[in-house]
């Protein structure tokens, strides 16, 4: 690696705060989608979908 690359990208406090907020929002959206898709699977296919022969 060159010395130039070692310096990397330095985020300003504002950029770091905005990135953290975006990451949290994305995480919450993905978690919410998981809950919704789980709920709709149970509703559409019934609870028995979890009891499958091994």
């Amino acid at each position: 690696m060159t010395e130039q690359n070692n310096d990397g990208i330095k985020l300003t406090p504002e950029q770091a705060k905005a990135r953290r907020a975006r990451n949290i929002a994305l995480g919450l959206c993905i978690a919410g989608l998981c809950v919704l898709f789980f709920a709709v699977t149970i509703v559409r296919l019934g609870g028995a979908v979890l009891q499958r022969p091994m």
Binding site: Q4, D7, G8, I9, K10, L11, E14, Q15, A18, R19, A21, R22, I24, A25, L36, A39, V40, V43, R44
Partner: protein, 312 residues
């Protein structure tokens, strides 16, 4: 030496300072709230009942689809938004979000919302949602808006479709009642939007958008607003006449329709530009209340009926 200079990385890339709120603003949340209400009314106006989870996810997909078309609109119209006071603080013209980011956001949400609606409810509803997004983003935004003063008349179909999409999501077909709700929003759009356009005619003119007031004149616009409101007032009562809403709804729709007609007559008869401007602002504000009232009553009375039925 750092790769970053201010917010700009060598090679044109940029570190984003956009907050989640900026992305939410791309979805036009105020328009989305109206879409949620009208779609909910479209869902409830038919006697068919779906599981609440399926209904909720369908409604969410329709709302996100509407928001996605808003993001695509803001991506394409960033040049117009930048020169108008009402829209210059939007995320793209203010520089908080890059146009490409808004385009990607809009396209991903469009695909996600259509696929989710198709998988959760049915593909007729998903197809109608895809058509709504296409109509708003391509037919209205890219074509009609900069081409004809009838832009918001024809483009209003996109804003009027959510109840039809919602009805299709719960019934699997398009019913007469949902088409009546479509017609109410479609006929409501011109007097609602032109009231704002008269107040902002100069800005639309400078932005090169041929809105009715700056393309055909204020007098002609005020006359057409009156004609559309004359059609709208009785149309608002039709759900009650068809038996899809109660007599109470019919009375509220008739009275609030007459009040809107009164405001439209005041706008039409305004003595000078200043009076017309003032009356247009009143009509614009009231028109939003009118639509919320009509669809709100449909939602509330159907909720009461459902609760009473569940309680036995």
């Amino acid at each position: 030496m750092s790769l970053v200079s201010g917010e700009q990385i060598d090679g044109g890339l940029r570190i984003s300072s956009a907050s989640p709120r900026d992305y939410f603003a791309l979805l036009k949340p105020r328009v989305m709230s109206l879409v949620v209400l009208t779609a909910l009314a479209g869902m409830m106006i038919e006697p068919v009942k779906v599981h609440p989870v399926v209904g909720f996810i369908s409604l969410l997909a329709i709302a996100v689809g509407a928001g996605a078309s808003g993001a695509l609109n803001m991506w394409y119209d960033a040049d117009i938004d930048a020169v108008m006071s009402r829209t210059s603080t939007r995320p793209i013209p203010s520089g908080r979000i890059q146009p490409g980011e808004a385009l990607g956001f809009g396209l991903v949400l469009s695909a996600f919302s259509v696929a989710t609606l198709g998988l959760v409810s049915n593909w007729l509803a998903a197809g109608l949602l895809a058509f709504t997004i296409f109509f708003y983003a391509v037919i209205y935004t890219m074509w009609l808006k900069r081409w004809t003063p009838q832009n918001i008349v024809i483009g209003g179909a996109a804003g009027a479709l959510p109840p039809v999409v919602a009805c299709a999501a719960v019934t699997g077909s398009v019913s007469l009642a949902s088409l009546v709700l479509f017609a109410i929003i479609f006929i409501w759009t011109p007097p609602h939007f032109w009231a704002l356009a008269i107040a902002k005619a100069g800005e639309y003119g400078r932005a090169g958008v041929p809105m009715m007031p700056n393309a055909k004149g204020e007098k002609r616009t005020r006359l057409e607003m009156l004609i559309y409101t004359i059609l709208l007032a009785p149309l608002g009562v039709v759900p009650a006449l068809l038996g899809q809403a109660s007599i109470a709804y019919g009375v509220i729709a008739a009275l609030s329709g007459l009040f809107m007609l009164r405001l439209a007559i005041k706008v039409w008869r305004a003595a000078d530009a200043e009076a017309a401007d003032r009356d247009c602002k009143k009509l614009f504000g009231y028109s939003i209340l009118y639509l919320f009232l009509l669809f709100g009553v449909i939602v509330i009375e159907n909720t009461i009926v459902t609760v009473l039925r569940v309680m036995g």
